[in-house]
């Protein structure tokens, strides 16, 4: 039970004392930060030679990917398989938006990326932040919406046209608005439809795919989702249906990128080469989701795509 939660009366001197303590804490904190950053900037200039050794002689390897990829559950099979093939690495997966994943790659906080935001990726490579980039797999996006389908887009094969109908009917639409790959795709579709979406019907969640689907489900709105997350979540979403699919424009290509600033360059390369190897492509990626959903979530295309 909480009795008197605060100490007794502080006098004027106490106020000054409090200020001094706080100032000291801030200075101390900043000092720690400066020394930490100092050492990390050293490490980035000798990329690859200075790697952290942590768990029982293993070296850390940081993969930054997207929340949609994680929501699909692919990493639950991929990572154990990689660790089995390369036991010397302690694999860490950070799932964020594509935007932040690229930022992490830029600063060297991630060694290798698995993202699906082609335009941003090209910028990343042009700016020199990436070492190597290889196509890995693709899945597709789909347009999800309420069963009542106020914009009447069910069964359409032209995604951009469907978006135009949503805009014209001012039906509730939820955008992730988080610089993710999905968000980037959505914005290209609006562009193709010749529409700049604005108004009370176009709402931004700023969150991942899973959360955005929940919101669309609760409020009965349309959204653009990747098939992986949709398949994983659709049983718990009672108020959403798959309305539009199949358009080439909904194609969602994944690339693996090794980062120039990586701490563990060796590991980054090992991962990238591993994930595009025929064995992984055929046996892990191509089969993932088959038993659970009747169809694979991702289509490997390391060999065929550029």
């Amino acid at each position: 039970m909480i009795g008197s939660a605060l100490p007794g009366r502080l006098h004027c001197r106490g106020n000054l004392g409090l200020g001094i303590v706080v100032a000291l804490a801030l200075v101390l904190g900043l000092a720690v930060l400066v020394t930490a950053c100092g050492s990390s900037s050293e490490a980035s200039t000798t990329a690859g030679s200075e790697t952290t050794t942590s768990v029982a002689g293993k070296t850390d390897l940081v993969l930054a990917s997207t929340t949609s990829t994680q929501d699909s559950g692919l990493f639950d099979v991929l990572i154990p398989a990689f660790t089995e093939a390369f036991p010397k690495y302690n694999m860490k997966v950070v799932a964020v938006g594509s935007g932040e994943a690229l930022k992490l790659g830029q600063t060297g906080d991630a060694d290798v990326l698995l993202v699906h935001s082609p335009a941003a990726e090209t910028e990343f490579m042009t700016a020199g932040y990436g070492m190597g980039r290889k196509a890995v797999m693709y899945n597709d996006f789909i347009i999800i919406g309420p069963p009542s389908d106020p914009a009447k887009i069910k069964g359409m094969t032209d995604a951009a046209a469907a978006f135009k109908k949503i805009a014209d009917s001012q039906s509730l639409f939820y955008s992730r608005g988080d610089k993710s790959g999905t968000n980037a795709k959505e914005l290209t579709l609006w562009k193709a439809a010749g529409v700049t979406p604005s108004g009370d019907w176009y709402q931004t969640t700023g969150q991942g795919m899973g959360e955005t689907l929940t919101i669309a489900d609760q409020k009965g709105g349309y959204t653009l989702a990747d098939r992986g997350t949709w398949l994983a979540k659709k049983d718990s979403l009672e108020n959403l249906e798959l309305l539009v699919e199949g358009d080439k424009a909904l194609f969602n290509q994944y690339h693996a990128i090794t980062c120039q600033a990586a701490k563990n360059m060796q590991g980054a390369n090992d991962f990238m080469n591993w994930i595009v190897s025929p064995y992984v492509q055929q046996n892990i990626i191509a089969t993932y989701g088959l038993d659970k959903y009747g169809r694979p979530l991702f289509i490997p295309n390391a060999a065929t795509a550029q």
């Binding site: 039970m1 909480i2 009795g3 008197s4 939660a5 605060l6 007794g8 009366r9 502080l10 006098h11 004027c12 106490g14 106020n15 409090l18 930060l33 400066v34 950053c37 100092g38 900037s41 929340t67 964020v96 938006g97 935007g99 932040e100 690229l102 930022k103 992490l104 600063t107 608005g177 988080d178 610089k179 993710s180 604005s198 108004g199 009370d200 176009y202 709402q203 931004t204 969640t205 700023g206 969150q207 991942g208 959360e211 919101i215 489900d217 609760q218 409020k219 009672e238 108020n239």
Partner: protein, 240 residues
């Protein structure tokens, strides 16, 4: 280190130039937490006072419930409120999910137990003699309670501050029931905490840092004011 300083510099620039989104979100945070705290006071202070003064059958159970409410992880509060307000839930028809009302409700259940528990502690440590002597001089029940509250006011104020602090700094529960929605760059249901999370995910460190700076500044201001009230003149009882 560059990232850190860059973020701070850009954040200060956003604040100084009055970036509209930043100020909308800041106002939302303060409004929601403030409203939740006010309701928390209206409910929490009487409950805390009552539990401190009166013993009744079932007092032990009531006090336990209060302390459980205090220990409850806020994310659990978020879960409960979400389930209550969702389409499938009992209050789904009210369409309160992803509105500021839902956030106020969640933050209320986070702030109120804090305020009630601290009030209870503060009032209980006012000696019973104070009440008895006041009554012995003709104070009515309400005058006596007011006297006791005045005696405990420093603790009660610190409880209110603690409740506000818990409310405004909550992330998970608010994200669950608020949704961090925005429309065309105008904030709808984002708070400083949930917006920060989403911005960091996107790599937008500058705006996130702006919120961080505001929250730190807010903490300083509140602590400063709290310390001032503690120094205020208190009626000192004499030992005769």
């Amino acid at each position: 280190m560059g990232v850190f300083w860059d973020a701070i510099k850009q954040a200060v620039s956003l604040l100084v130039h009055g970036d509209r989104y930043v100020y909308e979100v800041m106002w939302m945070s303060i409004r929601v937490a403030g409203t939740a705290t006010i309701f928390g006071m209206i409910v929490g202070i009487p409950i805390g006072t009552w539990l401190a003064i009166r013993r009744f059958w079932g007092w032990g159970a009531a006090a336990t419930v209060l302390n459980v409410g205090l220990m409850l992880p806020p994310v659990v509060v978020g879960l409960f409120v979400f389930l209550l307000l969702s389409r499938q839930g009992p209050f789904g028809s009210l369409s309160l999910l992803y509105t500021s009302t839902a956030m106020i409700i969640a933050e209320f259940f986070i702030a109120a137990p804090v305020i009630a528990a601290i009030t209870m502690g503060g009032v209980a440590s006012v000696p019973k003699d104070v009440r008895l002597q006041a009554m012995g001089l003709g104070a009515s029940r309400w005058q006596t309670i007011w006297l006791v509250l005045r005696e405990a006011r420093v603790t009660i104020i610190s409880g209110i501050v603690a409740g506000f602090g818990a409310a405004i700094s909550e992330v998970g529960a608010v994200m669950m029931v608020g949704g961090n929605l925005s429309i065309a760059g105008h904030n709808q249901t984002g708070t400083m905490t949930t917006a920060t999370m989403s911005l960091v995910r996107q790599g937008e460190y500058a705006t996130a840092m702006a919120f961080g700076l505001i929250l730190i500044l807010l903490a300083f201001i509140i602590t400063f004011l709290l310390t001032r009230t503690q120094q205020g003149v208190r009626r000192r009882w004499l030992q005769s």
